[in-house]
Amino acid sequence: MYYFDPHIHMVSRTTDDYEALAKMGCVAVSEPAFWAGFDRGSAEGFRDYFRQLTEFEPQRAGWYGVQHYTWICINAKEAENVRLSREVIAMIPEFLDKPGVLGVGEIGLNKNTRNEAIVFLEHVELADKREEQILIHTPHLEDKYPGTRMILDMLDDFSQLDRRRVLVDHVEEHTVREVLDRGYWAGMTLYPTSKCTPQRAVDMVEMHGAESLLVNSAGDWGPSKPTAVPDFILEMRMRGHPESLIRKVVYENPLEFFSQSRNFDFRPPEVPEAAV
């Protein structure tokens, strides 16, 4: 089955992973800007990183026929440095019109601090002013519930924001309902220990319906599985769910969400899948 991975950090994966993704039916990846595992020292460090996301990664993905899209921001961990964050935020517009750039992300909270919230708001202000889509990271583990509520509170301040153009990612059982009820897209991340499993993601589809749910691997430099979305597909099949429902979550929903970005120039596979 053709699928998107709407949230994966390919910059931290070897090229072999692109080959594996292509073989398993991944037609496109969406890569938000994130924390590299260490705190970058300067805004110019971010400029180089954004160039890597917008220039080299699409090329590398293309070697295997995978289409690559990206998001630009300073991530929540490094947002604790407000001075640096403001320098990076000032640079973001330079990249928002580049091919394949879908919007601002992954912004969010990490430990739910004042500085993180200030920088999150300034990103949302930028995105709102420029009518960009937004991809949001919700915190890990014990911080996820309060942080998600804080994020939703802050988004409420933007009355003109089109919630259908905002993806709130890494939802779990205790945050998914609130995100969906407020009209946002919700992403379920299949990542060991700190996030969700394919089985629990399928549970959430069964409990909440497929209308506004996406699923991703968030593959990065930590222990993670970039081919996690096919695991979700398999679990759905093993439970007897129809191909049309699976396709909605892993292909049609991402396509609908991303198609709202002016730089999403997706070329569908030439060979269509057999009608179900």
Partner: protein, 92 residues
Amino acid sequence: MKLTIPHEAPAVLQREFLPVRAKIIEIAAALDRLDRSAGTVSEDPQVAQIRAALDELATPQPGRAERIQMIFSLPYDPRWRKTIKMPSEADG
């Protein structure tokens, strides 16, 4: 909107029994490992969370996963903007 689930309880039990059994034994072994370790963590709040989560597992009401997530979560403070001293519009 809940989906119509295409599977029956006996089939789910047959599929889930061995993985659940394995996960419960893993948890039991981890708790035994804690007992064999030097010192005590009996007053550690994480131990209290684990015990509360295990108690929740044994409840009959659906929604255990969500309730256990909340056991392991920090609380939401509806006055967080004041608590962390967010700048207001008045601050400029």
